[in-house]
Symmetry: D3
Subunit: 252 residues, 6 copies
């Protein structure tokens, strides 16, 4: 979207284009991956899918909600750069209202950072309330955490010994494989630290207890990640997410 | 910054690197330039200057404050996508506090959108207050509107018939030349609309009076823009902004 | 706590008592259970565990964050009564700061409503920041979603055909069994509606798509719930949560 | 309300039931009464009156605005646990909007804590504004400070030597008598401290001047309180408040 | 203060001057008095008392909290111009923090509008918290509702048939007499409407029930007001408020 | 407006009167001028112009946004007393909504403090959005920075050696001349400090770098200011601003 002029953009919106809004984070992803993984992946996946639908990809939100120990290692890492709830909710709400003003009625929030999800929910709810006050009643939003689209079969291929749960998949096999596929030049498998996976108790401690967090920030082993696995996952997403969007927005 | 791993980033911060934070907008820039000009330019200029200083460029804020008629054509354009004051202030404040937590003490806000400036001021003031409460007293911020660095001589070269003032320079000779230099593939000089420059009264009317705004969104003539002029401006910035930053941060 | 006079309360706090703060919701729980389940359960569990530790149970927050379709049926039900993010975050933050002022240093947030969790995180983070500004550095909070303490063995007992995931466990076997144990007079098993379990796609649609939501609001079958199962779960919690709290707060 | 299932609640709302929302506080009430007085009393009175009208009592707000020296002893007591203005206003506003969504049109705010009143006013005003934007124009709210309903005759019975004003009636004859009536098990008349009544100057000092505040927190003598007096007051309320609500809501 | 240059102001502050901050409202005061009464009176009283103490009078806040039926006739009058809670709290808090930055340590809030009081309390509390974070611990505030200083004897002189309570004294004998004393040119006794005093029930109805409000906005009879009575009240205030301020701030 | 009774005000509003709202600041203006210049001038100019149009002047906002070094000397001066962005935006928004409620449809914001401008823009935008939700679509606002109305000829008269730009005109020739015209008793030309004009770099430094700021707070030489010059400027404003307002509001 950002590379189009406004008349081009307007024409696309008038034609009913789906707008993809990647929402990410700037967050540690171990020694082998860059801080921007949670932006790069939803951006790459958005572009991949937008192509199938003649959709538009809006500039992403590069900063997300505070990283949590059990899903992203915690917000104490140097490099992890996060927003408060109010700022994230407010920014996303504002942007949604602007797309509604443009005439867009089909929007996909492509979330790349687990911790963002509930704040996206609030932003969506507040924006839809405001839209109703302004007489807009047909704006539809899909909120997609892309990793939820991974099929059982692919999950078994990735985790032949059993899936440890998304909680520990931070900077691990799944994300690393996708990065090796989409941005291999930004991954350094040789820098992977050999650590034990994180072993968290079933509750949270504040201020953050650093004990159970592997110092590298990688919550479970990433060494089996490959670009081929990334390609397989990307292909799954390409097919399944496209299909869902078409169905929800009534696109032939 | 976003392409570094956290240990790399930490090392650079510990070594005293200057962090550049581009703050832009998604805003109409006429028929000949894309919506992202106000992000692309501060990002390009930040990267250019960061190279001289071994600095880091943080992910930019891609959405800015609401476009105003007399400086950006107004916020009614389809494509212009803006934040409210609270969201912009909040997001920038949060990010500044995070850089302080990382140990960064030298930060440059590279502003690419005129309307952002006073909200950046508030974000800076609130963040510095909070830092003081947290015991951080040596965080220093330069807030740079890069166009203010243009030397008189270059201004005369750009505007041989007299400078009409920055107000009308939206999407016009200055920005177009810089874009032709940094991102020629995104500029389409053949799409330039031949319109009279905007002629605003010395006050603002709300709701926006569309009368004085050239429909294309270009506030004064851009046809004399060239990549060569853009290169000259960029060279000026490269020299002058670098010099100022070195001086302010005591870099040899 | 609410039944003590302030001198009694002060004495207990000075003696180092753990304070339990139940955070719930007023949310539909099908035809067979009352709107207050998400308050009654964390309150009952807090009281049960506080007894082991000579702890105090503070008045609970009776309203929680907006119910989501995939975890609570959605916020469109008549009876579901929810707070916005700002109000929930603000209220919880205020209360935490008050306990810090009292001299309390050991606090357990006993969460009874899945959707509250991330807003509790923000409240905790903001409160801890403010405490640090006020010179309080030793306030420690455990944030407990009690259902996460259920042991694998009990899970197998509850779900002999395989656990469908917490997502669908709203007003179903787990919660109903606990209510049959703690508040049998408020459960009406004869009113259980015989419906198919919910079958959600792996993403969210806003405004809420009512299609996949069983009209009764029960997301999966609850008919196998019994007070005996509830007792077993309660016993597990009594043992395991008590143990964790003792360990974290260094209580012999 | 909290003990009903959502279909039961819906049926009552559709039938036009009045909803009572008790708003209280967690605040010191001397050595002889518990911290929860300001919740227990409006809750008990709401239930008493709801019975006459087939009304519903919603879960109360257990935390209220910061206690003030001249009406509640001040917010420095250990045990007094208060909300900021923003949180109290926000929470109450949210809840009012939810009741409007349910279809409720007759709501009574039963206030049990003097300091809450003006923040309730703001919450009501903001909620009614939002309701109008959402097309709800017939939502009616009675904001009741129940002590204002006490008849002159009863006042003379309670204070044969002249009424010292509500200001000093914190934890004193009036509240203690009501508690002895509704919750005798929570009152310990033997713990009453023999102190002089508070003698405040006609202005407020901040930070709070502890000088004029009786250390026990009881602002005037409570020793003449009896359950019989409480019964008399309760009977007055039962009659008078019921009558007012019937009249205002047009209930036969 | 506003008529001093900054070096003059600084000198006075360094010498320990008391700062008076009048907080008023723009609110209907019947047919016979202007909208500015609640600003004019605290301003006049502040100036009168400041003279005794060599104090400074800061620019007043001219807009106050929403007028309530039982104390100011209600916020539906054309001319009554009010702030929301958040704006009033925020503005006052900001100003208090600025005075603390200047070095002022003795401040009097002279409140001229009943409805402002609790929002002033919140502003004071938030400001004092922030001051403590900034290391300021000796800032002292007197919050004065001047009408509370009226002595019993003067009250009897004003109301020979018994005092109806401050509630109904809006735009009536008390305020009119003071205005006749301080600003006789702004009072038009000949325009006084002959109405029955307001007769409110002991609770509030929202949206406002106009029934019990005298249409002129005067809540009880003002016809007995005279400049002589105003002078007497002013003299009382001059003596009593001055004395209290001297005592609280230790001024000889 | 503040000196009218509400029925007088209502009559004027019903007759279509233009309302002028002066928005100022309490800010240092050198040794020779008082802290209130930014309120006194817009107030005086509003009154002057309102006379031509039978308009109303509302109570001004006496506190404005934080003074910036390059336009007002900076916010570190003792005496400069400023609001945060949120308070200024909120207060102005509230007041605009009240005027809309009154029936006013023609409003002029007369801004007297450069730093306020963008926050006024946000307040206007938020207020207009809310008005639309409330069904008000014809409220029109002129936002006037009066100094922008100065004609080229008068500028040459004031600055025979060339205009240094508005940036440095703080407390200098322009403002001092106007004050000598409108409020000569508040100007002390004999206290003018003989300093070099400020020489700022083309960017901002935070925390404020005091180096380039003349200690007196006067950013450029004011010694050539005279009442005669002030009269000339005032006459220009009287003619030109009146003409613009008439044209915009269709007043004959």
């Amino acid at each position: 979207m950002n590379e189009l002029s406004w008349p081009e953009y307007r024409q696309r919106i008038l034609a009913g284009a789906v707008v993809f809004l990647p929402v990410g984070a700037t967050e540690q992803h171990g020694h082998h991956m860059p801080l921007g993984v949670d932006v790069f992946l939803p951006m790459a996946i958005s572009k991949m899918i937008a192509k199938n639908l003649d959709g538009l990809v809006a500039p992403g939100l590069a900063y997300g909600y505070k990283s949590q120990p059990r899903s992203g290692g915690g917000n104490h890492y140097i490099g992890t750069t996060s927003l408060s709830a109010a700022s994230l909710i407010g920014s996303l709400k504002d942007v949604l209202l602007e797309f509604a003003r443009h005439g867009c009625r089909k929007l996909v929030i492509m979330n790349g950072h687990y911790e963002n999800a509930m704040f996206e929910v609030e932003a969506i709810d507040l924006a839809l309330q405001d839209m109703r006050c302004r007489g807009v009643h047909d704006f539809k939003i899909l909120k997609i955490d892309y990793f939820e689209f991974i099929p059982e079969k692919t999950l078994q291929m990735l985790f032949p010994d059993g899936f440890p749960g998304w909680a520990l998949e931070h900077a691990a096999v799944f994300e690393t494989s996708l990065m090796l596929h989409f941005h291999p030049e930004l991954v350094h498998m040789d820098r992977l630290v050999d650590e034990q996976p994180a072993n968290f108790p079933p509750y949270d401690v504040y201020p953050t207890n650093l004990g159970p967090i592997p110092p590298s920030g990688v919550l479970s082993k990433a060494c089996s990640a490959t670009a081929a696995k990334g390609l397989k996952i990307a292909d799954d997403f390409d097919e399944l997410i496209t299909m869902s969007i078409k169905e929800e927005f009534g696109i032939a």
